[in-house]
C-alpha cells in the first residue's frame, strides 16, 4: 500500500476534504468568512468542545463511552464558583474543581470496569446525578460576579488570541502525539480492538479503563472551569446536551462506538466541522434551527462514505473473517 492509498483510507481524510470544501465555498459565499475576527470567533466557539473531545476520543478508542461530560462541566463550574464565593482562593478552588472531575471519572470507571455495568447506563446515571446535584446545590440560580483572577483564566488574550483557544490547541496537539506514539496511550487501541487479546498480552485492561474515565472527567472539569471563567458566571444549565455534540464530533472524526479506532486530530476536525456548519449557516442567514438538521445529515453521510469505502476494499472472505470489535 503506498502513502496515498493509506492517506485516503483514513477517516480523517474524508472529513478533512469536507472541511476544506466548506471553507472554500464559504470564502466565496461570504466576504467576512476568512477575516481574522471570524476565524478567532470560530475557534473560540469550538475550544470548549475540543477539550472534551480529547478525553472522549481516548475513552472511545479504549471501548468506553461517557454521557456525563456535559453534567461534569456544569457541576464543576458551579462547585468552583460556590467555594470561591465562600472565600476559597482561586487556585485552590480550581484545583478542587479539577479533583471533582477526577473523582467523578474514577466513580464512572470503577462502576464500568469493576462492577461490569454497561458504560452507557453508568454514565447516563452520572449525567442525571450530577446535573441534579448542580440544580439542587444552587436551587437553580446562577452564580455571577466571580473573582477577576478566575475570570482571567478564560478571558485573557495572548498575542491577540483568547486563552481557551490556546488551551484547546495545546491539548489537541499533545493528545494527538501521545495517542499516536506513546506506548501507554496505544494500549487503548488494543483494548478497544480486542479486549480478550489485550488481557492476554498483559495489558491492565481494568486499570486503563478507569484511567480513561478519569481523564475524560478531568478534561470535562477543566472545560467547565474555562467555560465559567469565560462567561464570568456559573450557570446551572452549562453544558446541557453537549455530550451528544462531543460524541457526534468524535464519531465524525473516525472513531467507532465499538472501540479500537479514532484519533485526536480526527475528533478535532469533527468539532471543527460542526462549528463550521453553524457559523456558515449563520453567515448565510439560514434559520438557526436548521443547524442540527445539517449536522445529522453530515454525520450519517461521513459514516456512510467510510463504511461503503471499507466494504469495497474488504470484499470477499477477508471481511467476513475479520474479528469484529469487542465481544459483547
Amino acid at each position: 500500500m503506498n502513502f496515498f492509498q493509506r492517506l485516503v483510507r483514513q477517516r480523517e481524510f474524508v472529513i478533512f476534504i469536507i472541511v476544506l470544501a466548506v471553507v472554500v465555498a464559504m470564502s466565496f459565499a461570504s466576504p467576512i468568512f476568512l477575516t481574522e475576527g471570524n476565524i478567532l470567533a470560530l475557534l473560540l466557539s469550538l475550544s470548549i468542545q475540543s477539550v472534551m473531545a480529547v478525553g472522549m476520543v481516548n475513552l472511545m478508542v479504549g471501548g468506553g463511552f461517557d454521557m456525563s461530560v456535559g453534567s461534569i462541566l456544569g457541576f464543576t463550574g458551579i462547585i468552583v464558583a460556590m467555594i470561591m464565593k465562600a472565600g476559597v482562593p482561586t487556585p485552590l478552588a480550581v484545583a478542587i474543581g479539577l479533583l471533582a472531575g477526577v473523582a467523578i471519572g474514577l466513580w464512572n470507571g470503577i462502576v464500568v470496569a469493576k462492577l461490569k455495568i454497561n458504560p452507557f447506563v453508568t454514565t447516563l446515571a452520572s449525567l442525571s446525578i450530577f446535573r441534579g446535584l448542580t440544580f439542587a446545590l444552587t436551587s437553580g440560580r446562577n452564580i455571577a460576579e466571580l473573582p477577576k483572577a478566575f475570570k482571567a483564566i478564560g478571558q485573557t488574550r495572548v498575542a491577540g488570541i483568547q486563552l481557551p483557544i490556546i488551551y484547546a490547541l495545546v491539548l489537541v496537539v499533545i493528545g494527538d502525539i501521545v495517542m499516536r506514539n506513546a506506548r501507554f496511550f496505544r494500549q487503548n487501541y488494543y483494548i478497544g480492538g480486542n479486549e480478550k487479546a489485550a488481557r492476554l498480552s498483559g495489558i491492565n485492561v481494568d486499570g486503563m479503563t478507569i484511567f480513561n474515565y478519569m481523564l475524560t472527567g478531568v478534561l470535562a472539569a477543566f472545560a467547565g472551569i474555562v467555560f465559567t471563567a469565560r462567561m464570568g458566571a456559573a450557570s446551572c444549565q452549562a453544558g446541557t446536551g453537549w455530550e451528544l455534540g462531543v460524541i457526534t464530533a468524535v464519531i465524525l472524526g473516525g472513531a467507532s462506538l465499538r472501540g479500537g479506532s479514532g484519533t485526536v486530530f480526527g475528533s478535532f476536525l469533527g468539532v471543527f466541522l460542526m462549528a463550521l456548519i453553524s457559523t456558515s449557516l449563520t453567515l448565510l442567514n439560514v434559520d438557526v434551527y436548521w443547524q442540527q438538521f445539517v449536522v445529522g445529515v453530515v454525520l450519517i453521510a461521513a459514516v456512510l462514505i467510510d463504511t461503503l469505502g471499507s466494504v469495497r476494499s474488504a470484499a470477499g472472505p477477508a471481511k467476513k473473517q475479520a474479528i469484529g470489535g469487542k465481544a459483547a
Binding site: 480492538g193 487479546a197 489485550a198 492476554l200 495489558i203 474479528i323
Partner: protein, 508 residues
C-alpha cells in the same frame, strides 16, 4: 531426568461443578515437540492456560528447568519463558502486524514514545526468520488471510524469546498446504532448541510433527507414548476410552445416488468465483475442496442466497432457481450450515429448543401466529434423541454444551426445515473425534433419505472419507472433478494448488 525443561506434578484445577484437571502429570523434554491430545473437555485447554499463567492450579506444582514456578498472570509466564499461541486468535484487526506482534513491548525512545523505525525493523527481522518477508509490517492484521494471521500470532508468541511454545489447534483455520508451511516453521523452531507443546484434534498432524504424545481424558492423564511406536487407532481408543472403528463410517449398503437434484450452470459472482458448473445428485454427498480463499465458501453462500450469484443459472429438482435471499433459499428447501457456528449459526445464550426451531418458527405457529410450546418441546426432545445431542435437557443454554454438541444442534436445526439440498461448511471444525463420528453418521443418514449434501471442508481426510464425489476449486474456478475412486490426497492437493491441471468437462 536432566533433560526435562518443564514438569507438571499432580496439578488439579477445579471450576464450579467441574474438575477440569485431576492430578495431572506431564513432562516436556528440551527441544522436543510434545503433542497433547484428548476430546473436548479433556482438560487440554485448562492445562495450557495454567501453564500460560491465566489459571492458578488448586494444588500440585509446575517446575521449569527444575525450579518450582508460580504465575500470577500471562506476562509472568512470558517472562519465565513460556509463550502461548491461542486458538482464538488474540490479534487486534485494526492494528498493524508490527503493533500486534509487539503488543505492550514496542521499542520506545525518550518519553516512552514508540520508536516506529525500530518497531518495523524488528518486525521485518522476525518475519524473515519465518520466511514471511512478503508480509508488510504496516498492514492492518484484519486485511491478512487466516494463514498469515496465524503466522503473526506465532511471531507474537516468539517475540518474547520463549523457551517453551504452546500451540493450541494451530491448524484449525488453515488449509493443508498452509499447515505444511506451519510444520516447516515448527521444525525450524525445534532446531533452534525451543520446546513445543502441540495441541490438536487432527491426529494425522501429530504423527507428522510430534516426537511424543500425552493423552488426557476427563481431566486425567491417560498415557504417554513415543509417537513412532503407536498408531492413530491407539490414540483414538485412549482418547475416547472405547474403540471407534472408522470414524467416517460406511456408506449404507444398497444406497444409490438418484436423479440430478441440484445443478449450477456457469455460475459466478464478481470477485469471488466464476464459470462454476456443478451437480449434486439425490442422496449424494459431494465434497467441495480447495484452499481457503479459493471461493468454496463464497460459492456455498451464493447457492444459499447469502451473497447471491450475479451470473449463471441454478436448478433445483429441474426447476430454475432465482434466489436473492436466504429466506427464499430456505423456502425452496436449501439449508446452509455455516463454518462459523459461534457468530453466524447459533444463538449461544438461548436454550436448545429455541435454537432448534429458530429457522422454521412458522412450523410451530398456531393460525393466529402464536407459538405452540408443546409442539416445540416435542420436536426438541425428538431431535435431542435422534441426533444424539448430549445434554441434561432441552432447556439447556447452548453455550454450556461442548463444541461437538453445539454442532449437532446446528445440524438438526437445519434438518428440521426438511431440506432437499444441505450445504455444510466445515461441519467438524473444533469438534472432537467422538462427536465428529456422530456428525458424519448424521450426514450419511440424511443422504440415505434422499437429501443432497454439498460438503465444504479444509479437512482433507474428511472430504476423502465421506464424499461420493469431489469438486476441487482453485482461484474461483472448479479446477477439477474427481470420482470416489479418483479422489486421493495427491489429486485433490494437486488440483487445489494448481500443480495438476485437469478439466474434465461436465456432460450437461
Amino acid at each position: 531426568m536432566a533433560n526435562a525443561i518443564l514438569e507438571v506434578r499432580g496439578v488439579t484445577k477445579t471450576f464450579p461443578g467441574v474438575k477440569a484437571l485431576d492430578d495431572v502429570t506431564f513432562l516436556l523434554e528440551r527441544g522436543t515437540v510434545h503433542a497433547l491430545v484428548g476430546e473436548n473437555g479433556a482438560g487440554k485447554s485448562t492445562l495450557m492456560l495454567t501453564l500460560g499463567g491465566v489459571y492458578k492450579p488448586d494444588s500440585g506444582s509446575i517446575l521449569l528447568e527444575g525450579q518450582p514456578v508460580s504465575f500470577e498472570s500471562s506476562s509472568d509466564a512470558n517472562r519465565a519463558g513460556i509463550s502461548v499461541v491461542y486458538q482464538e486468535l488474540s490479534l487486534v484487526p485494526n492494528l498493524s502486524v508490527a503493533e500486534n506482534i509487539f503488543a505492550r513491548r514496542q521499542p520506545t525512545r525518550a518519553l516512552n514514545l514508540i520508536h516506529w523505525d525500530r518497531l518495523y525493523r524488528d518486525t521485518r527481522e522476525l518475519l524473515a526468520r519465518f520466511g514471511s518477508e512478503h508480509i508488510d509490517p504496516r498492514t492492518p492484521v484484519g486485511e491478512l488471510s487466516m494463514a498469515r494471521r496465524q503466522v503473526v500470532e506465532i511471531l507474537k508468541a516468539m517475540s518474547v524469546g520463549p523457551k517453551i511454545l504452546i500451540l493450541d489447534e494451530p491448524t484449525s483455520s488453515l488449509t493443508d498446504v498452509e499447515a505444511r508451511e506451519l510444520f516447516a516453521n515448527i521444525r525450524k523452531l525445534k532446531a533452534e532448541g525451543i520446546s513445543i507443546i502441540y495441541i490438536s484434534h487432527h491426529l494425522s498432524e501429530i504423527f507428522e510433527i510430534a516426537d511424543k504424545v500425552t493423552v488426557l481424558r476427563d481431566g486425567r492423564h491417560v498415557c504417554d507414548a513415543e509417537v513412532d511406536q503407536i498408531n492413530e487407532e491407539f490414540l483414538v481408543a485412549n482418547m475416547v476410552g472405547r474403540k471407534i472403528g472408522n470414524i467416517y463410517g460406511e456408506r449404507a449398503a444398497g444406497a444409490q445416488a438418484g436423479e440430478v437434484l441440484f445443478e449450477a450452470r456457469d455460475v459466478g459472482r464478481k470477485g469471488n468465483f466464476q464459470g462454476v458448473n456443478l451437480r449434486v445428485l439425490r442422496g449424494e454427498i459431494v465434497g467441495l475442496a480447495g484452499l481457503v480463499g479459493s471461493g468454496r465458501t463464497e460459492l456455498g453462500r451464493a447457492i444459499f442466497g447469502a451473497e447471491p450469484a450475479d451470473s449463471g443459472e441454478m436448478y433445483l429438482k429441474g426447476r430454475r432457481l432465482a434466489i436473492r435471499s436466504t429466506r427464499q433459499a430456505i423456502q425452496k428447501g436449501i439449508g446452509y450450515l455455516t463454518e462459523d457456528r459461534k457468530s453466524h449459526g447459533l444463538y449461544l445464550d438461548f436454550d436448545i429448543k429455541d435454537n432448534l426451531v429458530a429457522n422454521h418458527l412458522r412450523d410451530f405457529c398456531s393460525r393466529v401466529g402464536f407459538l405452540k410450546r408443546g409442539k416445540i418441546e416435542e420436536f426438541a426432545r425428538g431431535s435431542v434423541r435422534d441426533f444424539r445431542i448430549v445434554t441434561p435437557g432441552i432447556n439447556q443454554i447452548l453455550s454450556n454444551l461442548s463444541g461437538g454438541n453445539q454442532q449437532k444442534v446446528l445440524v438438526s436445526a437445519w434438518f428440521g426445515i426438511r431440506p432437499d439440498l444441505l450445504i455444510v461448511d466445515e461441519p467438524t471444525r473444533g469438534v472432537d473425534v467422538g462427536a465428529r463420528s456422530d456428525i458424519y453418521k448424521l450426514l450419511r443418514s440424511f443422504a440415505a433419505r434422499g437429501i443432497g449434501i454439498l460438503l465444504i471442508s479444509s479437512d482433507l481426510p474428511e472430504i476423502l472419507g465421506i464424499s461420493d464425489r469431489v469438486y476441487v476449486m482453485r482461484e474461483g474456478r472448479i479446477a477439477g472433478e474427481l470420482s470416489r475412486g479418483e479422489a486421493s490426497e495427491e489429486n485433490v492437493i494437486g488440483l487445489a494448488a494448481g500443480v495438476l491441471t485437469r478439466t474434465k468437462e461436465l456432460s450437461i
